[in-house]
């Protein structure tokens, strides 16, 4: 595409755009006509300046690379209001998720907590470590003294198959 963003001198990258479209499986998910409803109601706008309509339009133009390596795609609270209210069935949520996947593929900036969760799952099946909690009276409790059943970890085959799944693009 013969257009240039004169502020950053960036040009659209149609290959990256195709990558996102392939992840989205449905072209209409970036069919935004800028009613701005999504941004007007975005949970993450006030605090983190996430503008879902802007993400939609940037991706549609092809300005994908900058987005994929930015912090802004990690600002989404996944409240799903944007898809719910969009009159054109565009889906900033899915576009943002696709951009996140692309960021991971490119080993761009990814919040640590996500990769930690993945290694945790590989290790024992769960995304969170088992915690001890305290009551309001400051007594410590765990599954055992709360008489909750033991957690059954996944069988041995799980780890390698999950790793295989992680290799899919």
């Amino acid at each position: 595409m013969s257009l240039t963003d004169l502020m950053s001198m960036a040009k659209p990258n149609l290959e990256s755009r195709e990558k996102i479209l392939a992840k989205l499986r449905r072209r209409e998910l970036i069919n935004c006509f800028l009613c701005i409803k999504c941004t007007s109601g975005c949970t993450a706008l006030k605090l983190l300046e996430l503008k879902p309509h802007e993400v939609e339009k940037l991706v549609n133009f092809g300005f994908v690379d900058e987005l994929a390596s930015s912090d802004i795609v990690w600002a989404c609270a996944t409240c799903l209001k944007c898809i719910q209210r969009c009159p054109q069935k565009a889906s900033p949520y899915h576009v943002i998720m696709a951009l996140r996947n692309l960021a991971v593929e490119r080993e761009a900036r990814v919040p640590e907590a996500y990769m930690k969760a993945v290694s945790q799952i590989l290790e024992n099946g769960l995304a969170e470590p088992i915690q001890k909690v305290t009551t309001r009276k400051m007594e410590t409790c765990d599954r055992e003294n709360l008489k909750l059943p033991k957690i059954k970890p996944p069988k041995e085959s799980f780890q390698s198959v999950f790793l295989k799944a992680l290799e899919e693009k």
Binding site: F33, L34, C35, I36, K37, T39, G41, L45, K51, R85
Partner: protein, 676 residues
Amino acid sequence: MIPVVSNMTRIGVYVCHCGLNIAGVVDVEKVADYAKSLPGIAVAKHYTYMCSEPGQRMIHDDIKAHKLDRIVIATCSPRMHEETFRKAVAEAGLNPYLVEIVNLREQVSWPHIEEPEKATEKAKALVSMGVARVKLLEPLKRQRVSVEKNVLVVGGGIAGIQASLDLANAGFKVYLVERAPSIGGRMAQLDKTFPTLDCSACILTPKMVDVGRHQNVTLLTDSEVTDVKGFVGNYEVTVLKNPRFVDEAKCVGCELCTKVCPVKVPDKFNENLSQTRAISIFSPNAVPKVAAINPSYCLRLKTKDKTVCGKCVQACEAKAIDLDQKPETIQLKVGGIILAVGSEVFDASNMPEFGYGRFPNVISNIEFERISDASGPTGGKIRNPKSEKPPKSIVFVQCVGSRDKRFHEYCCRVGCMVSLKQAILAREKLGKNVNICVCYNDLRAFGKGYEEFYRRARDMDINFVAGIPSDIRSTADGSLYFDVFESGTNKLLELHADLVVLANGLVPSNDIGKISRLFHALRSADGFLLEAHPKLRPLECSTAGIFLAGACQSPKDIPDTVSQASGAAAKAIDLLSSGEIELEPLKAVVDEDLCSGCRICESLCPFVAIEMKKQERAGTEELRAEVVEAMCQGCGLCSAACPTGAIKIQQYSSKQVLVQVEAALAKATSKGGSQR
């Protein structure tokens, strides 16, 4: 098997380039040459535009010069120019039904644009099929039927009123059927009209009075069409006139009855924002200006107890109230029907996020219209519905229910102009110190004087916010607040309003399905009634004799409605003015000797065009199928189902179809070259 060719058949084949539409893909010269090689061809030519004047003259001259008796034209879809070519051939003295159109555009060049060689081979095959078929065509005559020179207009809004006036002034008898107790429709509910800010009632009521008084118009209010039979030029329509329990001839419209009636009823004309009585005149400026009783609310009619109430009967000096009035069934014979049944306004309670139905200060555009109208529930004063005080801040929200794949995908066309008008009226009535905002997606001001109207609104300090809110919230006192990201300034704005007006779109009316079935009027994907062709035939249905006017075909403003209504009237006049019409002869025909009277065709016919007639056969009386030619649409269901092959569609006999198959297969297996 190659069919036996009559030595007398002299066929002319014309291959059209259609500019580059066909010639850009198909090698038209090769196709013409191929045609020349087929048996029975006297002339085979190709030309740029066969439908043009020189093209048609070529056919005309060739018929005369070469004594052609069959014509094959390989061109675009027969839906485009079949009629044109039939006329051209008829002018040259040849029966117009000895013409075969072969579609080289929609069936060859357009779908096979990537494969020109194969496309050319297919074109040749289709031409050979056309040639084989044309040899078996028979000359046919068009039947003439007389038509009724009167028209049924369904719907008494501005569309129906305008069409009725045009028809009546042209000398046609009009039956104007309206289901409400008064005509006037949506336009009667409006305060002012854009972009002139004319008072709607002032420009509408003279037309309403004219149509009510016109000697050529029979006004049937409180009426609905319940059945339609017949065919173009000869419709038999059943109208049910519901009782209004008041004698139209006696009532003088004094409204004394309304004053004494004890039963309060939501006022539909005022969008239920106020109450009227069980007996009342439907609207200010009603035509006819006659009271009507709502039987669901009237105490005496509900209880069927003659001792209950009756205050209106006592009060009426004209003795016009007739509580025993019965529904009336009226049979009409009309030549044409104009559907002008209008549209509904989108119900925004389907979008709870905007609070309509929950928050009293969120209203619809049609409710605002009644509030703004001097004859409305607040006497024309704009008031915050909850506090009943003048609002200090009004926000209009656009595209509610429109341009929305969750509800209606189309643009309602009038929403922006209505909100501009209402914003301007609010500014004029409430003065400078009221904050007025319009939250929009795209602001569409497309018509004559419309862009200037938009400028006028901006000049009146009405704020335009480029962004639609995600939801609207309410405080305990009923005032509203919401966030909207304004894309012009890239600022997240928090808006407060004591009145929010939702620009609800126009949607097909609730009974559009019933109308569609009753009149055999198809619907488009958006739910409105479908025109015969979106560009070239926007005023009529594909069913002959049924015309369309106004919002029932698609949402539109008053100028477009009036234009379409006058156009539909002209179409009806065009159809019926000569007193007779010609019918296409491509209809079903029964060979009585083969008919066994099994009645399968009669049971299948969707147009009720087959009747069983008693006939004498060798001393016994037997039933034989007979086609009512005027009703038959030539769909072919009967022909396909008939077990004996007795009923056939003219020009679509098995032989006429199968000979094409044989030609196609012969072409496919031949190695090209002459088939002689």
